[in-house]
Structure formats: structure tokens, C-alpha cells
Amino acid sequence: MLGHILLISAQINSRSGVPVLEAVAFGVFAEVQRGISAGFSSVRSVWSGYAGLRHVKSENDALTRQLEVAQVALQQQRALADRTRNLERLLGLRDRSNLNTVAADIIAGGATPDFRTLTIDKGTRNGVRADMSVIAPAGVVGRVVMPGTRAAKVQLLIDRNAAAGALVERSRAQGVVTGGGDDRLRLDYVSEVADVMVGDLVVTSGIDGIYPKGYVIGQVESVEKSGGAYKKITVKPAVDFTSLEEVLVVLTPTPAREAADGSVE
């Protein structure tokens, strides 16, 4: 009986396209995770904020927040400068550098080690939708895969099934960054003749319709000749996924997404 219910529910999709079973299980467990996360946060907050370094901790928190804001601003400026260099004659275009974002706290990690996901405390109630990109001050984090009402599941860029359109900032060589399940990324489909060096910055290209253009993905760690038409490139992510606490969900649709939505309509 239970097996039948589970199997039937697994195949019925909710309005958002997510199976009902997944949506219900995620919604219920997200609340548990929220409670546990709040408990952990309170204990940590009391310990580190009062028992230890009361004044230094609060000052440090304020400075860290300022730095994060500055880093986001820096990324926005980088994206803006990049766009300006390449499209300076097209001044009539709408300025998209000021992205509309919502800040979210991470309330849980992945339920299984084979899928690299995070749960954030913002959901459809806060305007979060599926396939919205998630960024941190250091760079790109991932995309929303399952938005609940008060929480959402985020697929990290390092997950095996994750990918993003990317380009090498210095040479503008384009490729696709894919996750490997560990803490490194691969930059695929970069031509053997493309100019890519160790240390080059890899940023989003914006062609996937999910991630806004010009945001930092990571740095090239190794470049090898694979013998085929493409290079074998390893990228070290700019974001330390194990120490993330807060992220920003980008609510502004990318130009590619807007174009796709427009063509559907």
C-alpha cells in the first residue's frame, strides 16, 4: 500500500514541476532543518559572541559583512566593466549591472554525499524560483533546483550534474564549467588552440540563461593537452563551499532567460 502511494506520488508533478513526494518531503524536512539550524546557530552565537570574544566578535562580524558587500560590489563593477569594454558602442542597452537579489541563510547541507546540494531559508514566498542563480561574495555558488514555500534547495556548481557557461577573462576563450562531485571544476569544450594559462580567472559567460555574465567561477589550476580537439582544464572554485553561511539569490532574469521566455510566449 505504502509502496503504491510512494510510486504514484513520485510520478505526479506539482504545479512547479517537482514531484509531489519530493515537494512534501522537502517542505517538511526543511522546517526540521530550520529548527536544528536555528538551535546550532543560537548555541554558536552564544558561545562565540558572549562567552568568548564579545566585542571583537561583533566588530569582526560587522567588518566581514562590509567586506562581503564590497566584494559583491566589486563583482558587479567587474561585470559592468567587462560589459562596457565589449559593448561600449551599444549604449542604448538597458543597464543590467544592478541585479535584484535576496539574501538567504544556509540551513542545511545535502541529504546524501552523492549529491552536492544546500538548503537555504528563502523560498517562493520571497520570490525564489527554479533555475535562479545563487552567488556569494567570492563568486558563483549554484542554482535553485527545488523551491519550496519557505526554503529552497540549491544545486552547487561542484555537483556532478551541474554546469555553467564560462569564459576565460583574459583571452575570452569560451567553454562549459562542469562539476566533478569533489572540490574541483572542469572547464570543458575549450579549443586546443585557445590561449589559457594557469592562474587565469574563469567567469560566467551568461549564455546558459541561468548565471549572469561576468561573475567569478574560479581560477585555472591546471591545463593539459588531451590529444583531442579540446584542452583538459581544471578550475579551482572561488567559493569555499564548506564554509558558506549566507548567499544571494539573483532574482533578476538573465538576458538569455528573458529572450527564451519571450520566444515561448
Binding site: 513520485a10 518531503a25 547541507g109 541529504a111 554525499p113 552523492d114
Partner: protein
């Protein structure tokens, strides 16, 4: 009562898995739910192990982003086989327990990765080192869990006995 304890243990493992992974480096590779399934199977037999594996696997699948049922099937199989091993062999020492947890993780990975690869849903590359690391980690956690569960009640009783002796 036993069912409630198993459901609570699975829920606690899931909560720990999703919460500790954020705070403690390295825990992201462990599968605490699998540890609970093998523990229950070894202590309660193949049928309870099978049912626990099915329940825990389906819940974990529902919370992950993959196909619902693949993890459930892998854990069902592991739960049943671990239960059979628990009833047919004496698995009461740390080393045999370590071996069972280690092999259970290898079997789970083989079924899980095998099914995903067979259905062409996900590519895992050559995950030998990662699977071996996870197996060793799960086995260590499983052995420690067994020791704690077996030693703690005894420790409490010894403490009470010592207190009553002092009073006399």
C-alpha cells in the same frame, strides 16, 4: 516502540548528515543514514534491515535531487544482506563490524553508481578513492556507534553501583 526508535534514528541521522556537513569538514563524505541501516540490520535481522533500508533510502532520495528509488533500492539490498550476515555469523567484535560496514558501503556504492550509470542519468568517473574513503569513514563511525551503544548503559549502571557503595 521499536519502529518509533528506528524512525527516530533515521531522522536523527538525516538531521546530523545535513547539519554537521556544514560545520564539520569531512562529514560531507559520510553516509550516516547507511550506518543506521546497517546497524539496525545487524542488531534486528534481515526483515527489519530490509524495511529500514527501504524507508531510509526513499526518504533520503526524496530529499536529494536524484531519482526516487535508486538509493532506496540500494539501501534495501544492503539492509537485507547485512541482516542475513548478522544472523548467520558472529559479528560482535570491532574488526568484523568494521568489515561489515565497509563491505556494506561498497555494495551500496556499487548498486547506486551502477544503476545511475546503467540508466545513463549521471556519470561518476572513477570514484574508487572516494568510495573507499566513504567506506572507511562509515565503518569507523559504525564501530564507534556500536561501542557507544553497548558501553553507555553499562557505564551508567557502574556509576550508580559505585555511588550506592559509597553511601553504604
Amino acid at each position: 516502540m521499536k519502529t518509533a526508535r528506528i524512525v527516530l534514528a533515521v531522522a536523527a541521522a538525516l538531521a546530523l548528515q545535513t547539519t554537521l556537513a556544514r560545520y564539520v569538514r569531512g562529514t560531507v563524505a559520510l553516509d550516516l543514514v547507511l550506518v543506521v541501516v546497517v546497524y539496525v540490520a545487524l542488531t534486528s535481522g534481515p526483515v527489519t534491515g530490509l524495511l529500514t533500508g527501504t524507508f531510509a533510502g526513499l526518504v533520503q532520495d526524496a530529499l536529494a535531487t536524484g531519482v526516487i528509488g535508486i538509493g532506496g533500492l540500494a539501501k534495501t539490498l544492503v539492509g537485507f544482506l547485512a541482516g542475513v550476515i548478522g544472523t548467520q555469523f558472529i559479528v560482535a567484535q570491532p574488526l568484523p563490524r568494521f568489515f561489515v560496514f565497509f563491505c556494506a558501503t561498497l555494495l551500496h556504492a556499487a548498486v547506486f553508481i551502477g544503476l545511475y550509470t546503467l540508466l545513463d542519468l549521471r556519470h561518476f568517473g572513477a570514484p574508487y578513492a572516494a568510495v573507499a574513503g566513504q567506506a572507511a569513514g562509515n565503518a569507523a563511525v559504525g564501530v564507534v556507534a556500536f561501542q557507544l551503544v553497548e558501553l553507555l548503559p553499562g557505564a551508567v549502571e557502574r556509576r550508580r553501583a559505585a555511588k550506592s557503595r559509597i553511601r553504604r
